[in-house]
């Protein structure tokens, strides 16, 4: 009845809707091509991290996200050359090591300045090192400096003397060790030993947590929590002012969103790539870089509880049952692990047979272990921390073990609950019978994976979550630490690895890590490094967008 009226004349009440539609359309049009190029001269490099870094205090930083920012802001005495992973001078221009391998004497550069303009002296190094060791700092990495003479008493707070640390003059610092520690120089490349200006870091209000000051190639500009961290080139960097003027570290948790942002041009680099079979990967072509990362992914067994306790055959059966090649070929493309020490670290052993996929052998070993056809096995739960990619990998392991009639329950919990379930306490083992874990080496030395993860002295929260204890392995690790000759050390590590892998099947070995990073074609000067995508030196990058 009223149809004609309503149709011929837009009813006033409809107007808001039309306005709304217009507004949406207008928004859409207005936003098109909003590519605002800044001043032509400015070079900005934008990359992504998943979450806010837990801390920007070098002494407390212990994770990749923090390091992704800290390595731009800070420098220590020595650093690792990213490509070759050899120790090279940083703030120290040279150093000597005494005959007995106990005294390290560093000579500082004369042209190093903090971002606040003050010159770096040996006193700053001494102050920073004492801060790292001090009980007040509660640094989780104070162990780096614990080889210093008198460090133990100092770290307990028993004394304020630190005889192992002296500064003969403004440009010289001498470190004396209690006993020889072969990887000491490598350990000094960790960002925790960064040199800090005391006048900033003595602040009881801890303002430096939000405005760090170092002597690295970039200085801090601002940090908008959960949004981005902005850094700018430091003009007086001793290595020369970086070509990149501005670094924007964008915080994007959702990796699919991050990928789309990269494709749309909002990021110059991304730490994740689309699955390698995608048409997209083909389209991206050279923008995808793949390179080894010194780290190992494995499933740990809890050696302190049944059924894995004292049952190497069972652990071997699990190893043979899992199709590691599937992970390599159709999941993430990471190389299969034949053992513990990844390629790139001394002690890696390509000739180690490992445990290739062999379900038949797995069934035989399962019977030998006392559980023929899986009968008699208690319920086994595999714990891992909640992550979508892990979800699929762990389900694949569950499917594979099902093939040899082993029923695995998956338990995905957040990181905090996961840590609680696997670490236990120094006396009580964790409740997780199996757990997925990944370990990346802090510096390229087998010491930094074998000792924390396998040495019986570190059972529990210190890293040996498996509570693996083999006196022969312990002895080999201890012996290698004091050796001077690198080849001889590598030999000890290989032997320790052989025992832990082939005799004891300490874990279920999965893969060695690989970094996969996207770089836009206009980013030049990329130096890939086994230390991971966040250690690629931004100060060596250039942006060359060209005129086309």
């Amino acid at each position: 009845m009223f149809r004609g009226v309503t149709a011929s004349r837009p009813c006033p009440a409809v107007r808001p809707f039309l306005l709304f539609l217009c507004a949406v359309a207008a928004l859409g049009l207005a936003c098109r091509n909003r590519e605002t190029a800044g001043p032509a001269a400015e070079q900005t490099f934008r990359f992504r991290i998943r979450e806010d870094p837990p801390t920007l205090d070098p002494a407390r930083a212990i994770d990749q996200l923090s390091e992704a920012v800290l390595f731009r802001l800070f420098r220590g005495l020595v650093e690792l050359e990213p490509a070759t992973m050899t120790v090279r001078p940083a703030v120290a221009e040279s150093w000597t090591v005494s005959e007995d391998r106990l005294t390290y004497t560093f000579r500082l550069r004369d042209d190093v300045y903090f971002h606040n303009g003050r010159k770096v002296t040996a006193r700053d190094v001494a102050w920073s090192y004492r801060r790292l060791l001090s009980p007040a700092t509660k640094s989780p990495r104070r162990s780096i400096l614990e080889p210093l003479a008198g460090a133990a008493a100092f770290a307990r707070g028993a004394t304020t003397d630190l005889p192992g640390l002296t500064t003969p003059d403004d440009r010289t610092i001498a470190l004396r060790l209690e006993k020889p520690f072969a990887p000491f120089l490598s350990a000094l490349t960790l960002m925790n030993t960064a040199i800090l200006p005391a006048e900033v870091y003595e602040d009881p209000g801890e303002a430096y947590l939000r405005a760090p000051v170092g002597c690295g190639p970039f200085h801090f500009v601002r940090w908008e929590q959960s949004n981005f961290i902005e850094l700018a080139a430091f003009d007086r960097f001793y290595g020369g002012r970086p070509s990149i003027d501005r670094v924007v570290v964008r915080i994007i948790e959702n990796h699919q969103g991050a990928l789309q942002e990269y494709l749309a041009g909002g990021l110059d680099s991304l730490d994740e790539v689309p699955e390698d079979d995608d048409p997209l990967a083909a389209a991206l072509g050279d923008e995808i870089l793949r390179y080894p990362f010194i780290g190992t992914e494995f499933i740990g067994f809890n050696h302190a509880v049944a059924p894995f306790k004292g049952n190497a055959a069972l652990r071997q059966a699990f190893n043979y049952a899992v199709d590691k090649e599937y992970f390599h070929k159709t999941r993430h493309g990471n190389p299969m692990a034949n053992g513990i020490i990844p390629p790139g670290a001394p002690g890696h052993d390509p000739s180690l047979p490992g445990y290739p996929y062999d379900p038949e052998k797995a069934r035989r070993l399962l019977a030998q272990a006392g559980y023929p056809g899986g009968r008699g096995l208690p319920p086994i739960t595999l714990w891992y921390n909640t992550a979508e990619s892990l979800n699929q990998d762990m389900q694949k392991i569950q499917l594979d073990l099902k093939q040899i009639d082993v029923n695995l329950t998956l338990q995905s919990v957040d990181w905090a609950a996961y840590i609680a379930a696997i670490e236990g306490t120094p006396v009580r083992p964790g409740q997780a019978p199996m757990y997925r874990f990944g370990w990346s080496l802090d510096y390229p030395d087998a010491e930094s994976i074998l000792r924390p993860l396998l040495h019986s002295a570190n059972a529990g929260p210190a890293g040996n979550y498996s509570r693996y204890a083999n006196p022969r392995v312990d002895a080999l690790i201890d012996e290698a630490m004091g050796l001077v000759d690198d080849a001889a050390r590598a030999e000890r590590y290989m032997e320790a690895q052989r025992i832990a892998v082939m005799e004891d099947a300490v874990w279920l070995f999965l893969s060695y890590y690989e970094s996969k990073t996207l770089f836009k074609p206009w980013v030049k000067g990329v130096v890939t490094t086994p230390l991971g995508e966040f250690r690629i030196p931004i100060e060596r990058l250039r942006i060359e967008k060209g005129s086309s």
Binding site: Q256, D277, T330, T386, E388, Q398, L410, Q411, V413
Partner: protein
């Protein structure tokens, strides 16, 4: 309640309510059927939802084809079969949580409405508190508090203890609406003739509640419950999307969306189909609730729905 209709104006009766009732019934019925017959259906489809269907070197997810009408997921498992089984997870959580919510709601709302006075005031204060809580964040924390549902006394016996945690938490948060509704109905009905008459002839308190008040409140409860199931399903999907709802390998639609996310640019079906499934079943419950609202009480046909 929105203001009553001015005198002399009649709400027109259209085909809307009946159509939404029918459409809702069809959608909900479809998904209930899927859930009930999931094992039969997946046998008919030909693939177990938990078994890799593609051969070892085919790179999943594979696109829809004759063998897999909706394609396969990231591990090469048949997507249709997983979706059908996913209906079980969604409906179980949605309905179980709502039953818990209704029970808590009736008890609290009933006590408040029947007793009145002080009891009423206190119970409503509790209700207001729970209502004001940021429920989704509370759910996150509550689920995190039970990382090991296999060891929880009652939940342990469920086929999927992790789902038990989810529906208990959702039910424990979602009862506020029901409680207010029951209280409101009680207050309204109490004043009506038959309750007063029952009281007059000396019927006891419990008797009045069970014989007279509850049956009268049943209609609105069913409507609110139906709408609530939809809400619970959305919430479960969201929790699973964040990785804290159903544990793998249980094929929850929410976790299927998460897993499919990685392929959204080139293989969108892995992510699109589970999303459509959630949309379908929630839409079904919303339509059903709407329709029921109109059907159960023609006088209130267009009241807040």
């Amino acid at each position: 309640m929105p203001p009553a209709a001015p005198p002399g104006v009649h709400a027109r009766v259209g085909s809307g309510p009946r159509a939404s009732l029918m459409l809702g019934l069809v959608l909900v019925g479809f998904f209930v059927l899927c859930a009930a017959a999931a094992p039969v259906l997946s046998r008919w489809i030909g693939f177990d939802p938990l078994v890799q269907a593609t051969d070892r070197w085919t790179t999943p997810p594979t696109p829809p084809d004759r063998a897999h009408p909706l394609g396969t997921d990231a591990l090469g498992r048949d997507l249709l079969s997983r979706l059908v089984h996913g209906a079980r997870v969604s409906l179980l959580v949605g309905v179980a949580a709502e039953i818990i919510a209704i029970v808590i709601g009736i008890v609290i709302g009933g006590c408040a409405g029947y007793a009145g006075g002080r009891v009423d005031a206190w119970l409503m204060r509790v209700t207001d508190l729970v209502f004001a809580f940021p429920a989704p964040l509370l759910a996150l924390a509550a689920i995190a508090a039970v990382p090991d549902p296999e060891t929880v006394p009652l939940l342990r016996h469920l086929p999927e203890p992790s789902l038990g945690v989810v529906f208990v938490v959702l039910g424990g948060i979602g009862w506020v609406g029901i409680a207010r509704l029951v209280r409101g109905e009680f207050l309204r009905i109490r004043e009506q003739e038959f309750a007063r008459a029952a009281q007059a002839i000396g019927a006891g308190g419990a008797r009045i509640v069970i014989r007279h008040l509850l049956p009268n409140a049943a209609g609105p409860i069913v409507v609110a419950g139906t709408l609530g199931v939809g809400g619970n399903i959305l919430m479960e999907a969201w929790l699973s999307f964040l990785g804290i709802g159903a544990r793998p390998p249980a094929p929850s639609w929410g976790s299927m969306i998460t897993e499919g996310q990685a392929y959204i640019l080139s293989k969108p079906w892995v992510c699109v189909f589970p999303g459509l499934a959630v949309l379908g079943v929630v839409l079904g419950f919303n339509l059903l609730g709407d329709g029921l609202n109109a059907w159960l009480d023609p006088r209130r046909r267009h009241a807040a729905s």
